[in-house]
C-alpha cells in the first residue's frame, strides 16, 4: 500500500493510505513494512485497528512499542497492509447515549466508531485515558472528549474511568485499551447495558488459522479474537 500521508500526533504516528472498500468500526488490519523477498525478519505482521476511514482513505494510528512498530514508524513509501479483518462493534441504533472509552493507543478505533455513530445519529461521549500529556495530544482529534492522564499532566488525574462522571447514564459502552483496563470497564459497567470491548492479543495470522490470539470465554475454553473478535460483548469474556 502506498503511504499517502504520515503525521505525528504527540507520541503516536498516523499513516494514511488509499482504501475504498467498506471498513466496520473496530475491524483491524495486519500491517508490516516489508515481507518476502525483502526479509523474513521481523516475521509476522502486526494488528492495528482502523483509526479512521472516509470512503477514500483509511488510516492507522500507532504507538512505537517494539521493532515492528519502529519499522512502521520509519516507513516512508509503502507498507504491507491486509484487507479489513475481524468483527467490529455491533451498533444498536436504538440505544443511546453511548460512552466511548479509550485507554492509551486504545483510542485508535474510537475515531471511526464515533464517525459511524454520528452517521447513525446515535449521540455519544468520548472519554480518553493516557499515560501523559504527550500521548493525550491525540485527544484534539476528538472534539468534546474528556481526558484523563495517569500523571495528571493533562485533563483529569487518573484513569479513563475516572474521567466518566456518570457511567450510569449511558445505554451502551464501547471500549478499547489494555486488557486490564477492559476488565475494569466490564466490572464498572456491570450487565445493565450493552458493553463491547475491543481486546488486544498477540496475533499470528489475523485470519483464524493459527489459534494464537485467543481470549478465555465465560462458557469455558478460548475463542479466537481475530475472527470472533477483536470486539466482544463484555459478558462473553471470562475476565
Amino acid at each position: 500500500m502506498e503511504i499517502e500521508d504520515r503525521e505525528e500526533i504527540g507520541g503516536y504516528t498516523l499513516l494514511r493510505y488509499s482504501w475504498e472498500s467498506a471498513i466496520e468500526p473496530g475491524q483491524f488490519a495486519m500491517a508490516r513494512v516489508a515481507g518476502y523477498p525483502v526479509t523474513f525478519d521481523p516475521f509476522l505482521a502486526r494488528p492495528f485497528s482502523y483509526y479512521d476511514h472516509d470512503s477514500e482513505t483509511a488510516s492507522l494510528l500507532f504507538e512505537v512499542r517494539g521493532r515492528g512498530t519502529a519499522l512502521l514508524d520509519d516507513a516512508r513509501d509503502r507498507i504491507e497492509v491486509s484487507a479489513p479483518l475481524g468483527r467490529g462493534f455491533r451498533i444498536d441504533e436504538s440505544r443511546g447515549p453511548a460512552a466511548l472509552l479509550g485507554g492509551g493507543i486504545g483510542v485508535a478505533p474510537l475515531k471511526i466508531l464515533s464517525r459511524r455513530l454520528n452517521a447513525l445519529g446515535v449521540c455519544h461521549d468520548v472519554f480518553l485515558g493516557f499515560a501523559d500529556t504527550r500521548y493525550a495530544a491525540v485527544a484534539e482529534d476528538f472534539p468534546g472528549a474528556s481526558v484523563a492522564t495517569v500523571d495528571g499532566s493533562a485533563g483529569i488525574h487518573g484513569t479513563v474511568l475516572d474521567a466518566v462522571p456518570d457511567l450510569e447514564r449511558y445505554e451502551a459502552v464501547y471500549a478499547c485499551g489494555p486488557n486490564p483496563m477492559l476488565a475494569a470497564v466490564k466490572r464498572a459497567v456491570g450487565d445493565r447495558v450493552i458493553c463491547q470491548l475491543s481486546v488486544e492479543e498477540r496475533m499470528g495470522c489475523g485470519n483464524g488459522s493459527c489459534n494464537g490470539c485467543v481470549v478465555p470465554v465465560r462458557d469455558g475454553g478460548y475463542v479466537r479474537s481475530c475472527v470472533e473478535g477483536p470486539v466482544f460483548d463484555a459478558e462473553m469474556l471470562a475476565w
Partner: protein, 295 residues
C-alpha cells in the same frame, strides 16, 4: 487459476492419490475461514489435528515471534473428532481431504482411526506423533522407534485400505522413519515444529514454551527430508519452513513428494508460493513429478 500446461506441470501422485499440485497446508495452520484464498492452490486439504475429545488448548500467550520464525504453544485446541466430522464438509474444495489425528495413548489413536476408517470423504490419515504419550511418562510418540512402531502398527490395523501418514519430529527422525516404514506407514511427514522457548526480558518471565516453525527451521527440515528420503522407500511429505517457490523445489530436490505450507501462510498467500514454484519449473523446463529426489 491454472491452465492445461500448468496442470500437467504441477500434478503429482502421492500413495496412489492424484493431486493437482504438490502443495498441501500443514496441519494447524489453515482454518476454514482461510479456505477461500487457497482454492486451486492446494492439492489436498489437511485440517488441524483432531483428538478424541474436545481440547480447550493452552492459555495465552500462545505465540511469540522469533528471528525469521515463531514459537507456538496452541495445545491442540480442537472440537474433538465427533464435531470435527460433523463440520468436515466445510473443507470440501473438490480436492482430497487428509485428516490429522493425535491421542495421548495408543488406544486413542486406534479409536480415532476407527472413526475415520469408513468415511469416504477422507483420502488419508496423518498421525501426529509429536504429542506427549501418557503411557510413556509424557515422552512423545516420536521418542523412539519402539513407540513409533507400536502406534503405527495399531493404527495400520484400524485404518486398512487407505494411506496412513506418520508425522515425525526432527529429533531421531531417521531411526523413527525406518521404524514407521516397517510398521506400515505409507508416507512420512517430516518434520513438526522444533522444541523451543521464548523469554520476555522486560517482565523477566517465560513467554511461550512450544515449537519453533517458519523460515528459521528450513535448513533443519531440509536435512531431515534429505536423510529420511534416503533411508526409506515410501514417499516423504516435507514440512518445516517452506516459504517460497524455490523452497518447494529445494524440498522436492531433497526427496519430498509433496510439500506442506505452514507458518508462512500467516504472512504470504499460498498462491504466491505456487506461482513462484510454477515459474521455477518453467525456468528449469521440468515438472513437479520429475523433481523429487532429482539432485
Amino acid at each position: 487459476m491454472k491452465n492445461d500446461l500448468q496442470t500437467l506441470q504441477l500434478a503429482i501422485e502421492l500413495c496412489g492419490i492424484a493431486l493437482e499440485t504438490p502443495l498441501i497446508p500443514a496441519s494447524g495452520t489453515m482454518s476454514k475461514e482461510a479456505l477461500g484464498e487457497v482454492a486451486g492452490v492446494y492439492g489436498a486439504i489437511l485440517p488441524k489435528t483432531t483428538t478424541p475429545k474436545e481440547r480447550a488448548g493452552n492459555p495465552p500467550p500462545r505465540i511469540a515471534e522469533t528471528p525469521a520464525g515463531m514459537v507456538n504453544s496452541i495445545g491442540l485446541q480442537n472440537p474433538g473428532i465427533e464435531k470435527f466430522l460433523e463440520g468436515l464438509d466445510d473443507f470440501d474444495l473438490g480436492v482430497p481431504i487428509f485428516v490429522s489425528v493425535a491421542g495421548d495413548a495408543v488406544d486413542e489413536f486406534v479409536a480415532l482411526c476407527d472413526c475415520l476408517a469408513g468415511d469416504d470423504r477422507i483420502s488419508a490419515v496423518e498421525l501426529n506423533l509429536s504429542c506427549p504419550n501418557v503411557e510413556h511418562g509424557g515422552l512423545t510418540f516420536c521418542a523412539g522407534p519402539t513407540s513409533v512402531e507400536e502406534v503405527i502398527g495399531a493404527c495400520r490395523a484400524a485404518y486398512p485400505g487407505k494411506p496412513l501418514f506418520a508425522k515425525l519430529t526432527n529429533e531421531g527422525v531417521v531411526a523413527n522413519a525406518i521404524a514407521a516404514e516397517e510398521s506400515g506407514a505409507d508416507a512420512l511427514t517430516v518434520i513438526n515444529t522444533i522444541p523451543a522457548l521464548t523469554i520476555d526480558p522486560e517482565s523477566q518471565s517465560v513467554l511461550v514454551r512450544g515449537g519453533l516453525s517458519g523460515p528459521a527451521i528450513k535448513p533443519v527440515a531440509l536435512r531431515a527430508v534429505y536423510d529420511v528420503s534416503r533411508a526409506v522407500n515410501i514417499p516423504v511429505i516435507a514440512s518445516g519452513g517452506v516459504s517460497t517457490g524455490t523452497d518447494v523445489a529445494e524440498f522436492m530436490l531433497a526427496g519430498a513428494t509433496v510439500v506442506q505450507v505452514g507458518t508462512i501462510s500467516f504472512v504470504r498467500e499460498p498462491g504466491e508460493i505456487l506461482r513462484e514454484f510454477s515459474e521455477y519449473l518453467d525456468r528449469m523446463g521440468t515438472t513437479a513429478s520429475e523433481l523429487t529426489g532429482a539432485l
